[in-house]
Structures are given as C-alpha cells and as structure tokens.
Subunit: 145 residues, 2 copies
Amino acid sequence: MDRVAVFNEYVRQKGLKNTSQRMTILETFLNSKSHYSTEELYLKLRKKNPKIGYATVHRTLKLFAECGIATELNFGDGQARFEPVHDEQHHDHLVCTRCGSIIEFEEPRIEVLQDEVGRKYDFKIESHRHELYGVCAECSAKKQN
Amino acid sequence: MDRVAVFNEYVRQKGLKNTSQRMTILETFLNSKSHYSTEELYLKLRKKNPKIGYATVHRTLKLFAECGIATELNFGDGQARFEPVHDEQHHDHLVCTRCGSIIEFEEPRIEVLQDEVGRKYDFKIESHRHELYGVCAECSAKKQN
DNA sequence: TAGTTTTCTGAAAGTCATTTTCAATATTTA
DNA sequence: TAAATATTGAAAATGACTTTCAGAAAACTA
C-alpha cells in the first residue's frame, strides 16, 4: 500500500475529511527532498497556493507522522523536520554543522547492538534517535574560515 | 584537572569574571543528579538564593557546555537538559516515554561502528546523539492504563 | 440533491522555552 | 581607589509551535 493510500485509509478510519489542502501538502511532501522543516515546506507550498496557512501545514505534517507515513526529526536547531517514510531499510543521519547538509546512513550492526542494550536493561525500545554531527567531506575540503 | 578548575581556567582565558552566582550554580550543578533542565536547576537554586535569575542560570549552563564541563541534552520534551561531563567512559541514554526516567548506557561497540560510518562518508564526527525511547522495566511491570 | 452535521481552514492570538535588552551592580585591572 | 569591563536580574522580545474561532468545505442523511 503506497503512502497516499495509507493516508487515505487513516483519514477514513478516523472519520476525518479529505481536503484539497491535505492532498496538495501530501503530494508536495512526498515529492520533496527529505528533511523539510514545517517552515520550508510552508514556503514551498505557498508558491502553489498562496492562501494555504502555516497552521494547516503544521497540522497536516503531524497527521502524516501520526499515520506513519512521515517521521519527525529534530537536529537540535530548534525546528522540527519531517521526512517521508520509505520502504527501504531504516536509516539514521549525519548532520553537517557547517553547511547543514544531511546524509543518511544505514548500519544494521548498530541496530542489533541497540536491541541488545534494550534487553540488557529490560527496556522496551519503541523508537530511537541517532545522529552524528560534524563536518562533511565538502566542508572539510573548503578553506577553513 | 577537575571541572571547577576547568571552568576557572576557561573564565580566566576568556577574560570573563568569576562571580558568586556562577560558583553557586557550578556547585549545585555538579552535585545534582544528571539531566536537570534549566527550569529544574533554577528552582533548586532559588532555594539557596531567591534572588538568582533564570537568565543567569541559563547563561551559566550554556557557559558550562561551552567550556566542556557540561553536555547539553535534548530528549524531545521541548526542554534542554544538562549533565555534568564525567571522566568515565562516554555514555548515551535510554528515555522512558511513560515516566520520563533516564538510564545511561555504554556500548563501545556502537562507538566503533559510528566511527566507521564517519570514515565511510569522509565525515569528521565531532559529536553525536543516540537515544533509545521506550518503556522502562518499572513501567512495563505496572498495570497498563 | 438539499439540508444537516461535522470537520477543516486560515488568521490571529496564545503558549512556552529561550534569548536579548538595559540599567544597576560586581569584578578585575591599572 | 578609580576606571574599565563584564555580569546580573527583571522585563521584554523572539521564535517555533499550538490553539481559538468563525466561515468554508466535506461527508452524511433523508
């Protein structure tokens, strides 16, 4: 079931309504680069439809996260970011503290060790955050300021 | 060099001043349980000195993080938390989403894999965040609500 | 399909943690 | 000790997010 279908099903089951705004936001969200903040997506959406409100974008992104087609991220810059959930393997992020670029990485062996930690503490892991902050290859190559 | 000395040295080198507020905050911070939010530490400090201001507590905690004797944490509850840096091995956190309790864990093998990820992407890792969210043993044992 | 019910929307106001401002105060330097 | 400079606390400002509310839109019902 694709993500649009998942969303429609969620809306139906919850007795919510399927509005044109929600469809526009969903479409734009799914076709965007990952890791948009609410603000960024809002600005992008305004170009398509200048009347769309920030609150609606925000509420809709929350709704996406709720129904499992988006993941909320937070890289410590004080703005929530959202990325579409994809079918591929789970990934975490490298965040460049110079240019803000975000690289996704997968490391199944870390996931295994995480589960091990959970078992050790009798802790039921439901989610995790794992981010590596530093300087990306491009920024390292540039002259130091 | 202990953490008080590190702080004094930092203050000296930067041409800052060593005030009684900073000393009180440092002392209280180092002798507290980890993971205090600014608000929590502020309330605790007010009992010692009711005239101390929130802004001063906040500024001083930032200063501690700056000079390396505190780590700023953020567990997604919208409040920054700080913990004193200790000499022991680096640790990360298990955060219970029911009761808010925080368990520290160490897993050197994860650190090794992290470094490997960094090398793979030619990324200079400076810091990281790794948090596992879920239900702690105590909350699991309690009746479900 | 028209009427009814319910949810949505966008603008504006509110919230909350954090950050800044600024005049008074304290520390450090000369 | 005076002069220079940094710090403090209260209050105001900021900024991301959240709520409110009246009008608009969607879904249900007869």
